[in-house]
């Protein structure tokens, strides 16, 4: 049976384990990030959990990365409240869409994908905030968030490239999978 989310090259058991693992990692990173972004001004965040989404996009497939994005937003909704949940959802959906287009349609480098993802994340969040608050004043934070997004995007891009070989080991290509199970 074909699955919308699961690529054919991975067994169901492995897929469930890998997705559970990635969701756990992204939740843990999200909580860790909340702890130290309290010191940063203007609601800046490092976007560590975006690394997980991008790694899933590259190593598994787009639907799985989208699933992780939505799960992460639900996690934020439960742990940090409605406002943070909606902003996280809009931000990470915008980041996902931008990164997906760059990843599928261009040969953009990991750093560029990550930077554009981070910038769209901030833009999506500001748009969500301005709709919720019925004011455009939130875009006053746009410039400073734009600069911080580029810097954090470069950092997460480097980390992303570093974790990809490890992802390859837990999500092997089709031929390896059979040997693995036997």
């Amino acid at each position: 049976m074909r699955s919308f989310f699961k690529p054919e090259k991975i067994s169901y058991a492995r897929y469930v384990v890998v997705m559970g693992l990635l969701f756990a990692v992204s939740s843990a990173l999200n909580i860790l990030e909340s702890a130290f972004s309290a010191f940063l001004p203007a609601g800046m965040r490092v976007g560590l959990s975006n690394i997980v989404t991008m790694a899933a996009m590259i190593c598994i497939n787009l639907p799985s990365a989208l699933l992780l994005t939505i799960l992460k937003a639900l996690m934020v909704l439960v742990t940090r409240g409605f406002t943070a949940g909606v902003m996280s959802f809009c931000g990470s959906l915008a980041a996902f869409a931008a990164a997906a287009v760059l990843f599928r349609k261009t040969g953009a480098s990991y750093i560029l994908i990550s930077v554009i993802g981070a910038v769209f994340h901030s833009a999506g969040q500001l748009a969500a905030a301005s709709v919720m608050m019925k004011t455009v004043s939130v875009f006053a934070y746009g410039a400073i968030l734009g600069i911080s997004s580029v810097i954090t995007g470069i950092c997460t891009g480097i980390v992303l490239k570093a974790v990809l070989p490890q992802m390859e080991r837990i999500i092997p290509a089709a031929d390896n999978e059979h040997n693995d199970m036997s």
Binding site: R80, R104, V115, V119, I144, I147, I154, I171, D175
Partner: protein, 133 residues
């Protein structure tokens, strides 16, 4: 998909020199904007506090005082040192308080959960009114 399934990382680089262009543009635009804004900034005269898009109070920055409004709940706004800061808020993230002292025209603090915006304004002949606690 064009990529080789045996090697996930095939073809794509960590960084391409051509990618400098969009990254530099994305960095330069906000930096130029911030420099331009800093160059044209004036000292603030009064601050507007709004909630859900409606102005709930206008306070002078001359007189040190603590303000609060029924609409903005537990939030407190303190005027001191020629500026205004959000000194107390019941929101979870405290981003509004992190904005610090707002003293120059255009400075803004936003509290998304409470739908509150504090904006410092320049010269104006509007009447000042605020609720003094």
């Amino acid at each position: 998909m064009k990529r080789n399934p045996d090697n996930i990382t095939s073809g794509r680089k960590l960084f391409r020199p051509a990618d400098m262009i969009p990254i530099i543009i994305l960095l330069a635009v906000p930096i130029i904007y911030l420099i331009a804004a800093a160059a044209s900034e004036h000292d603030g005269v009064y601050a507007e506090i709004s909630c859900g898009g409606e102005i709930v109070g206008t306070v002078s920055l001359d007189k040190d005082c603590v303000y609060s409004y029924p609409l903005t709940g537990e939030m407190e706004f303190t005027v001191a040192d020629g500026g205004i800061r959000v000194s107390k808020s019941d929101c979870p993230d405290k981003v509004c308080m992190g904005a610090g002292l707002l003293s120059r025209a255009g400075d803004t603090a936003v509290c998304v959960p409470n739908k509150v915006v504090v904006t410092v304004m320049g010269k104006s002949d509007e009447d000042i009114d605020g609720v003094v606690r």
